[in-house]
């Protein structure tokens, strides 16, 4: 009986050990609506992975890192920005981000990373951080297009790669993207 027990335990350990493999990254897909989109939330907190309406975002200002907006005249089209970008005249009302007291800033830079390469990036890869070009980064991801991979860094030191998968132009339009992130402590 003792031998039987040892055999059983050995098999169990072998099964666990031999199945060890590289952890697949968590895939986060987010859709954000532009300022006139009444059905899709337009504000996003990266670390919390939560979307908000403008009203609920105003109640959680410290969490908001990214929002979506549309502006054809300046060529922004569907774009991503953050409360600290200084966008004005797009959102209206008392909850508009320009009225907020806490305005986090996220910086963006488009990369040469392809969609196929984006798929290869693994959870926690240092490449998520090193793909961010701090010198050339901007406070807007302007005129984003499906297939582009943008690198970003939030004010709280979360770096991310963002693959744009769908864009619908217009003030009631929206943007859908997939995220892979890595938090770096003391990145501020």
């Amino acid at each position: 009986m003792k031998i039987m027990f040892l055999v059983a335990v050995s098999f169990a350990i072998l099964a666990v050990v031999s199945c060890d493999k590289v952890k697949d990254p968590e895939v986060i897909s987010v859709t954000l609506g532009a300022q006139g989109n009444a059905t899709v939330d337009g504000f996003y907190a990266v670390e919390e992975n939560e979307t908000y309406t403008m009203a609920t975002a105003a109640d959680n200002q410290g969490d908001i890192d990214i929002f979506c907006f549309y502006e054809a005249e300046t060529g922004n089209n569907i774009a991503l920005a953050s409360p600290g970008t200084g966008i004005s005249g797009i959102f209206t009302g008392a909850d508009a981000p320009e009225t907020w007291t806490t305005k986090n800033t996220t910086s963006f830079i488009v990369t040469t990373i392809t969609e196929e390469q984006f798929e290869a990036v693994q959870e926690g890869d240092a490449l998520i951080v090193s793909s961010f070009d701090a010198v050339n980064a901007r406070r807007k991801a302007k005129d984003i297009r499906a297939g582009q991979v943008w690198s970003f860094m939030t004010q709280d030191g979360v770096y991310g790669l963002l693959l744009v998968t769908d864009v619908v132009q217009g003030a009631d339009g929206k943007a859908t993207f997939v995220l892979k992130t890595k938090k770096v402590i003391d990145a501020k």
């Binding site: 039987m4 055999v7 099964a15």
Partner: protein, 301 residues
């Protein structure tokens, strides 16, 4: 008995089903990006001969461990392997900085290659043009350093090449991470050989077993071919006033952490693990285990 006949087939079935990958191997592949900022060089940059080529790379294994990094420099049609490093990076990818010195060729093409545990590969290349003027750097010169062989109990036996400081066995504590070189004597195929080695070289443990307990064991690479064939003369060594000769004499394709036959007059190009190029001239070498070696060193500041 019923239990026995039930449990073993059950466990076997569990083992097979649990470990038969329900998912196929990842369909993603490794790739490399060049880092920007912090002085990293960009494709098409111009660097004068002697200038620093600082390459930052970040790579993902594409779902499998990264197992190999190779860096090759192509200059004037000659391909030189500058780095060929085994590794096993399961998570987090590879993120590293590579520092080399620009040579004299009009253009240098740098090719970075990685392989993962599934033998998928990725490469990235950049061209570094030749900048105007030269940027050869200053050197330190240590005209006489005496080191004891493995059985010598009166002389220091560990050398920090950068500072030219030699440490005894009793005094090395706290300085292990700075040690680049030690010397031993043995008979190899019946031939007497004063020999240069370094803390990370496996056979060095035969003569300096204490290396096994060091947390940092530096790898110094010696260009044994240039030494064996006397490619650097004593006159050249004496006249080297900057690091030009130190860099260009080093042939990265013929290097090892061990350099045999360090007889009097031999000059050995080397590169430390910190990336400093240098030349070591053997002034005098005893051919016994308790003897000493006197060397002169020129090394990049």
């Amino acid at each position: 008995m019923l239990n026995k006949h039930f449990i073993i087939p059950f466990l076997l079935a569990y083992l097979v089903t649990a470990c038969t990958p329900a998912e196929p191997e990842p369909e993603t592949f490794p790739f490399i990006i060049f880092k920007t900022g912090s002085g990293f060089i960009k494709d098409g940059s111009a660097v004068p001969p002697g200038g620093t080529v600082k390459i930052g790379i970040s790579a993902t294994g594409g779902g499998a461990a990264i197992t190999n990094l190779v860096v090759r420099r192509e200059a004037d049609g000659v391909v030189t392997t500058e780095t060929d490093r085994g590794m096993y990076i399961v998570s987090g990818g590879l993120d590293t900085t590579l520092i080399y010195t620009r040579g004299y060729a009009n253009a240098e093409r740098w090719k970075i290659f990685i392989m993962n545990s599934l033998r998928d590969t990725a490469t990235a290349t950049m061209t570094v043009l030749k900048g105007a003027g030269s940027a050869w750097g200053e050197i330190s010169y240590y005209p006489s350093v005496v080191l004891g062989m493995q059985s010598n109990v009166t002389h220091p036996c560990y050398l920090d090449l950068t500072s030219g400081t030699a440490y005894t066995k009793a005094g090395v504590a706290g300085h292990e991470a700075a040690i680049d070189l030690s010397v031993f004597w043995y008979l190899t195929s019946g031939i007497s050989s004063p020999t240069l080695t370094c803390p990370s070289y496996p056979s060095a443990l035969t003569w300096f077993p204490e290396y096994s307990s060091w947390t940092v064991r530096n790898q110094t690479l010696y260009d044994y071919y240039s030494s064996d064939n006397d490619l650097v003369s004593e006159t050249q060594f004496a006249s080297a006033k900057n690091d030009s000769l130190l860099v260009t004499a080093y042939r990265s394709q013929t290097v090892s952490g061990l350099s045999k036959f360090a007889y009097s007059g031999k000059i050995v190009p080397f590169r430390t693990s910190a990336g400093r190029y240098g030349l070591l001239k053997v002034i005098r070498a005893d051919e016994r285990a308790d003897g000493t070696v006197e060397v002169a060193i020129k090394i990049q500041k």
